[in-house]
Symmetry: C2
Subunit: 356 residues, 2 copies
């Protein structure tokens, strides 16, 4: 029986993506070959790649003047590739620290230039999104993490800042319409809302290609990816295909406006129960609550293990919180249906009845 997967990532994808991926492993589109054995130079794969990129542009409404690249290595690789490609040694990048990932991004950037943490919610165990911070007007860029998987906070607006903005959208891309024009560079590991693990989406302003002046190795140079349509080397064919299948599903459902509606409905349902239920409380402050990763803890520490055990009979999977927060984390990515969230809410209510 299929589990309700609330895991933080690699995470749930639409059921039809699982089924279509399986079919392609045996025979891709009836061509007599598995998707796992087709060449990255074949017409079949070039069509997959083109449609993946064009659907990304369409769904995110990416304006002219941006490149869409597909790069291996995940968000961690981008913690290096961004400063390597953008930041000169004598320049400064500003960071807002909202979780462990922003911390890693800032630490890696020190290898390539100067860094400056302009705001942080570290002292409050990252339970809020800093506001009203001041950005250095001469910074090369400001780095943000739009959604904070571990702590369950999220920037839900695309604001204007006095310097170019780089944003790690690994865990909330495609969850709402985004004003891409507010960003010079966006990156996102696939394994939350886009596809299975093994590929990263990079959206970069044309004008930023070749910005930093250091000599670059080919596999770390965004320009090489842009010039070669992300085909300078062999890309992960199957992984990109899972992205395409997910994007097609997203378009069929109505795109990002519809997805945002659903994500608001799901997160509202769960936060309402967290606030109502006498046994649980939320981690993030209400105004910065993430729609993607919903963190809550039990008032009574003994209920933590008990609730994890209790939900098993509901076929609920993956709600254990990260060790630095404890408690529970219900990740409600795009592919999680509201019915799954309702089952978790039912479990919380039943648990309250039994334990009050």
């Amino acid at each position: 029986m299929k589990k309700h997967n609330f895991g933080a990532g690699p995470s749930i994808l639409p059921q039809e993506v699982f089924e279509q991926s399986a079919q392609a492993c045996v025979d891709y589109n009836g061509i007599g070959l598995s998707i796992l054995e087709i060449s990255h130079r074949s017409k079949e794969f070039l069509d997959i790649l083109d449609e993946t990129i064009s659907l990304t542009k369409e769904l995110l409404n990416i304006p002219q003047g941006y490149q869409v690249l597909l790069v291996q290595g995940g968000g961690n690789m981008q913690f290096d590739m961004v400063p390597y490609n953008i930041l000169n040694e004598n320049e400064t990048a500003d960071f807002v620290e909202t979780d462990l990932w922003s911390v890693r991004a800032e630490e890696e950037a020190r290898l390539y230039g100067k860094t400056n943490i302009v705001a942080s919610s570290k002292e409050a165990n990252f339970n809020f999104i800093p506001k009203n911070f001041t950005v250095d007007e001469d910074a090369a860029y400001l780095h943000l993490t739009s959604n904070n998987t571990i702590y369950g906070t999220e920037f839900l607006e695309d604001k204007t800042y006095p310097v170019p903005v780089v944003c790690d959208m690994s865990s909330d891309i495609f969850s709402r319409p985004v004003d891409i024009s507010k960003y010079h560079l966006i990156y996102a590991g696939a394994q939350k809302n886009l596809g299975c693990s093994g590929i990263t989406l990079v959206i970069i302003k044309d004008a930023w290609l070749g910005r930093s002046n250091r000599p670059k190795s080919k596999m770390w140079d965004y320009s090489i990816y842009a010039k070669n349509n992300s085909l300078y080397n062999t890309p992960p064919v199957f992984t990109i295909y899972t992205c395409l299948l997910t994007l097609r599903w997203l378009k069929k459902l109505g795109g990002l406006a519809e997805m945002e509606k659903r994500n608001i409905a799901k997160s509202t349902l769960l936060y309402k129960e967290i606030d109502r239920n006498t046994l649980f409380k939320g981690h993030a402050v209400p105004e910065d609550r993430s729609r993607m990763n919903i963190n809550f803890i039990a008032h009574n520490p003994e209920h933590e293990t008990a609730f994890l055990e209790f939900v098993k009979k509901y076929n609920i999977h993956g709600i254990k919180g990260y060790r630095t927060v404890g408690g529970f984390r219900a990740s409600c990515y795009n592919a999680m249906p509201i019915e799954g969230v309702q089952i978790l809410v039912n479990a919380m209510q039943e648990f309250e009845k039994v334990n009050s």
Copy 2:
């Protein structure tokens, strides 16, 4: 109907790997989750990773004192990571140029230290493996490409050299028993004999971890992979699973000694026909012929298009040669059964009858 896939890569994998991968996309091992949605920290994936690494060690008979790492980015990424991790700025790496990939490896290494091409078969369109070349005794290492996918030549012996040896085994790893002790570092993109595209195997001597003294970014530092069991960041879960399935198949068949026998039988069958057939001739010199990529051309240039058309009725796929060689390339990786090679031989014989 399943095609006989002679493509150079991403390439044929065992039929049971296609089927087991498909099953896992729908439900991995009956756990109620797809392989595409399981966490890289789950027990299920940790077991996959452990078995992949231990089967790699077992099948390749890797001695004590080596690390087996799994890295994203393919062989191209290793063209940079090897010198970045090993070569200091004032040191020299020696290269034997046997194809376009060795050329790329040498070019990238220039960013990190000095390079020296000690031998090359470029003038002969890479149709042989240079022998009796002299290696600088003070070189940090010698870089070889054991199998040359484009030109169809192969180093079939593991020789001793006066300096540590780095070897790109992307297209012939697991095709024969290898004396790992002759190498300090071996790398291989998965997408020929190991699994689907998206992961690279790196085998490195413990003593070489941290060799170069430059400050390193985490995702490019072999030590980080070694310390974290290749789990510092989210690895491509599904891709690694296809490797495991392929390694299990390899072990079941009898391991690398058996595989070498089969590869000798297949390549002998095809080279014999190339040498016998009045319409075709081989590209590589006989003593350096690859067992993996078998290149041949038509004496009559008009037969090139005609033969590509002719083989379609045999359901033969992917034998067009690379543009710098022309003609045909039949890649006979581990998963290609001798029956497939026999069908190609039949097609060549039939074509000769029709066209003589």
